[in-house]
């Protein structure tokens, strides 16, 4: 009896993805959507009133627009995004063999521009980059997040996790202090979420525009009075990667709407 239990336990240990201390178990993971009021949910739910869809619309036009010295459009290599890009964003950030590190969807778009279109990179948070990234990620809407599975990503996921656990700033708080330990409580009037990155780039009412997860992370860092990492820095990429792997199984919502 004890023997069988031991085996069962051993099997559980091997098959269940190792859950690190303090992490939210898969069946308790909740999108930021579930923390919102009915009016903000309604804004996200209806594509004809979701302001993020304006950017998706822009992205759709950019997808087939020829650009750069090569005079090529995204569509010239990738074809119809609705089939070709389906599920792609749910696997990002992904490992890039040539660079030997993970790259975000934004970085992948700019790598494509540099390598295949011979075009200048689009600046972080620029309308065109957000629009393209929203258009690509929108093709994964409803698909479960599956980022971080590639074993080559392991050290980068670990780095992101360490950063998530690292106290920083004058207020000396780590992401985990709020988003693992205190979600569902209220910081002043605002509910604390689990920080599941299911809908990026997303339309934040506070911003009144679409923004990337990097912008959101930087604003949290400012919140604890820490020096925010630069856009595209290895730290922000690692954090995004960890957050996406932490959200595994949750469906993508791009473009989400959040307060």
């Amino acid at each position: 009896m004890i023997f069988w239990r031991a085996i069962a336990a051993a099997i559980l240990l091997v098959t269940a993805p190792a859950l690190l201390a303090g992490e939210i178990p898969p069946d308790a993971r909740r999108s930021g959507y579930s923390f919102m009021g009915p009016d903000t949910r309604a804004m996200q739910d209806d594509d004809t009133s979701n302001p993020g869809m304006l950017f998706v619309l822009d992205g759709e036009a950019l997808w087939s627009k020829k650009t750069g010295d090569a005079g090529k459009a995204c569509a010239d290599c990738h074809g119809d995004a609705r089939s070709g890009m389906k599920g792609v964003a749910a696997r990002y950030p992904a490992f890039d063999k040539a660079l030997a590190r993970p790259v975000t969807l934004d970085q992948r778009i700019n790598l494509c521009r540099a390598n295949h279109q011979q075009a200048t990179p689009l600046p972080y948070e620029s309308r065109d980059l957000l629009a393209l990234s929203a258009y690509v990620a929108h093709q994964s809407r409803g698909i479960s997040i599956a980022a971080g599975d590639d074993p080559q990503l392991k050290p980068f996921v670990d780095q992101g996790r360490d950063l998530f656990m690292q106290r920083e700033g004058q207020l000396n708080l780590a992401c985990t202090n709020c988003h693992d330990d205190n979600f569902d409580k209220r910081l002043a009037g605002a509910p604390i979420t689990q920080a599941q990155p299911t809908g990026y780039p997303l339309y934040r009412l506070e911003w009144q525009t679409l923004g990337s997860i990097e912008r959101r992370l930087r604003s949290c860092m400012s919140g604890v009075r820490a020096q925010a990492y630069d856009y595209g820095s290895p730290e922000l990429v690692a954090l995004e990667l960890y957050l996406m792997s932490r959200a595994r199984g949750l469906p993508m919502e791009t473009p989400a709407v959040r307060p």
Binding site: R167, N172, K185, R186, A188, R225, A228
Partner: protein, 148 residues
């Protein structure tokens, strides 16, 4: 770390006299679980303290709630401040504001009077405590009045 009160008084006097660098903290003496002496050498102003507790910039109200009927949005991450003056003496409150991590290394309550051992502090905050000695004293004076 324990210094004689006379020595501290002298230091405070010195810092007032030559208006010490803003980033320097007033030294304090911990006795048991308290800091018995006012950081400024004078009692704080409870009315100013109440305003500070309610100001979002000092961050208290983001996590704590309390007997503040006019303030709509109060946090619930940390204990209600109602009755804080019954539970703690002014000296105990002072140390809890200055460095709550002394009682629990895992606490989410920031150490409000500390400027070292922190990671990646934002440019505009580097080397400064969250609250000044005078602000700490005002808040201590106010919290001490919160009796059930």
């Amino acid at each position: 770390m324990v210094r004689s009160p006379v020595h501290i008084a002298a230091l405070i006097a010195a810092s007032l006299a030559c208006s010490a660098h803003a980033d320097e903290l007033v030294p304090y003496t911990i006795v048991g679980d308290s800091i018995p002496q006012s950081l400024t050498g004078a009692p704080g102003d409870a009315a100013r303290g109440r305003a500070l507790v309610l100001a979002r910039t000092t961050t208290c109200i983001l996590c704590h709630s309390g007997p503040f009927p006019e303030t709509r949005f109060q946090g619930d991450l940390a204990p209600d401040l109602t009755g804080a003056g019954n539970r703690w003496s002014a000296s105990q409150l002072r140390l809890r504001l200055v460095d709550a991590s002394r009682f629990n290394a895992e606490t989410i309550m920031p150490s409000y009077y500390r400027n070292d051992g922190l990671v990646r502090v934002g440019r505009n905050f580097a080397g400064k405590p969250i609250l000044s000695a005078a602000e700490i004293e005002d808040i201590v004076a106010f919290l001490a009045t919160l009796r059930d």
